[in-house]
Amino acid sequence: MAQMMYWEAIRRAHDEEMARDPLVICMGEDIGVVGGTYKATKGLYEKYGPERVIDTPISENSYTGLGIGASFLGVRPIIELMSVNFAWLAMDQIFNSAAKVRYMSGGQLTAPVVIRSPGGTAHQLGAQHSARMEKVFMGIAGLRVVTPSNPKQAYGLLKSAVRCNDPVFINEHELMYNLKGEVPDGEYFHPLEGSEVTRMGRDVTLFGYNISVHWAMQVAEFLAKQHGIEAEVVDLYALSPLDRQGIRDSVSKTHHAVIIEEAEAPVGVGAEVMAIINEECFFELDAAPVRVSGKMVPIPYNHTLEKAAIPNAKDVVAAVLKMLGK
């Protein structure tokens, strides 16, 4: 298995799928000649040409809609929205066209598009470039939502998403493109549903996704060393649909649940996971589940305030110790 950066893994998935199928195309702002803001499409313009690697104007709603329309006729577009904050402009086409067309056509028409977009707090990008939106996408019927936490998932989820017959939204993170990790040398398809136990434990389950899986892993190591607490870390790489069985299995084992999300808590992943715990395994709980989440503020520019607006390892440790009465 080769070590590869997150952006390289995404680029490799693009390249393999485009080499295999001439109807796989990619489109977005600065993805062609420039090679992508995060290099996810580097070199593809030279290799596949401007008809298949399309530098779009800054018209998020309509180029997303254009990709969706192309998918009606069997094209498989991978659409990059440079920041998830810009995805609001494309919500009409994602929500009203892509997600609903199968249903409202009685199954005649499908929109097999992939929409990739990074969000999250990075380096003082300010309120309009730092928000996360997974909570919005995961509430939409007809749309799959996945969020890779490592290069292997970034590669394998994109490969599966391109071939899937549903529209898939891939939520990436501004800070994770240079993250290194192992990616299988041969072709690999990550399932679009399910969850992964990243670390086995017996005392408490830390649910994370995307960047918060890494925070959870750091916390778990710290808890083991300093407090003898064995935390299980569950990576919810599929946000819609969420893995009900995976959530139930882990909570039934540890009887304690903490959900870590970078976004603000209301109407979020944590709220959804807690609802699933209530529905699936309430009587397995030894304590009320807890969310460790961002504050309900637009992300500030000031660095100190910015850091305070999102959760950190200390917040998670404090939540776990309190829950376990230590």
Partner: protein, 334 residues
């Protein structure tokens, strides 16, 4: 169009008129629910343009006033009526309704209810045609009010830039819901707005189907020959309100009466009678036959069809048994 063609499109327009009138009646009787946007007055637009294109071959997309576009593309009127009646036999299996008629087999790619939403979808279909190398074109029918959406400007820019084979047909009926075009739009002659994007455009009388056909022939030929997109404005009028919940009270009786003098069915009928190609009796017989088909076949089919099954409420949300959901379990390959 030769005489036989003209008689055929006269029949199609008359059928469209009577079809929509039956929809009106069924709506009043509460057999059709939701919103219902009717087409009387505008028949020459969809039928005339598609007469110059290839129905069932070219990809067509439109807004919510979509019944007649679907039928002209080849949709079975029984399936369209059954859709309005919310039945399983409807062309969208009762899941779509009046605003979401689909018949993908005949390349009618749907009616969409967000004003201006179909613009980029049409350009995307044109992009797909270009990638696949076919001789089809994409045709997008929308009203004048859609041109005040961002998607109009964004899409025309991309369609022109990338020379996409898409024909934009603007059915200018002078009103966006209840607001007159001159009260919402700085440049009311819609064809002029396409010029900003370097797109060839034209304006034609939308009430005289022969003029629509001639203008559309030029437009279709332009797009099909690879010269890029084309924008065709058709000046027309809807007799009824925007939808059934709109009485149209914002328009003067004089204005409506003035437009009624330029009725598309009347114009073609009079033309054929004057030329000695059609008799009053023939026209009356044509009308009677249409009414019989609607009353004895189409509406009863819709009325007697079964409702969708309750246990299939969640069908069609996502693909069934998609191997990529869990390729390790299903061994998904392609």
């Amino acid at each position: 169009m030769n005489v036989a063609d003209k008689k055929r499109v006269l029949h199609e327009m008359l059928f469209a008129r009577r079809f929509e009138e039956h929809c009106y009646e069924a709506y009043v009787e509460r057999k059709i629910g939701g919103f219902l946007h009717l087409y009387p007055g505008q028949e020459a637009c969809a039928i005339g343009v598609m007469e110059a294109a290839k129905p069932g071959h070219d990809y067509v997309i439109t807004g919510y006033r979509d019944h007649i576009h679907a039928i002209k593309c080849g949709a079975d009127p029984k399936a369209v009526m059954a859709e309005l009646f919310a039945k399983e036999t409807g062309c969208s299996k009762g899941r779509g309704g009046s605003m979401h008629i689909f018949d993908v087999e005949h390349r009618f790619m749907g009616g969409y209810a967000l004003v201006g939403g179909p613009f980029p979808l049409a350009a995307g279909m044109a992009k797909a045609i270009k990638l696949k190398g076919g001789d089809e074109i994409a045709i997008c029918f929308l009203g004048d009010a859609a041109n005040n959406q961002g998607t109009f400007h964004e899409t025309l820019n991309m369609a022109s830039l990338w020379e996409l084979p898409v024909l934009f047909v603007c059915e200018n009926n002078l009103y966006g819901i209840g607001t007159a075009s001159h009260r919402s739009t700085a440049v009311t002659e819609q064809y002029k707005r396409a010029c900003a994007y370097g797109i060839t455009s034209a304006q034609a009388d939308g009430q005289d189907i022969e003029k629509v056909y001639e203008a559309a022939k030029v437009a279709v030929e332009h797009v099909r020959s690879g010269e890029g997109p084309y924008f065709l404005e058709l000046c027309t009028y809807r007799y009824r309100g925007h939808s059934m919940s709109d009485s149209g009270a914002y328009r003067s009786k004089d204005e409506v009466a003035e437009w009624a003098k330029r009725d598309p069915i009347q114009i073609l009928r009079d033309h054929l009678i004057k030329a000695g190609e059609l008799s009053e009796e023939e026209f009356t017989a044509m009308n009677r036959a249409i009414m019989e088909t609607l009353d004895n076949e189409i509406v009863p089919f819709a009325a007697s069809s079964p409702e969708p099954k309750l246990e299939e409420l969640e069908k069609y949300v996502l693909a069934e048994n998609d191997p990529w959901v869990n390729p390790h379990v299903t061994g998904g390959t392609r």
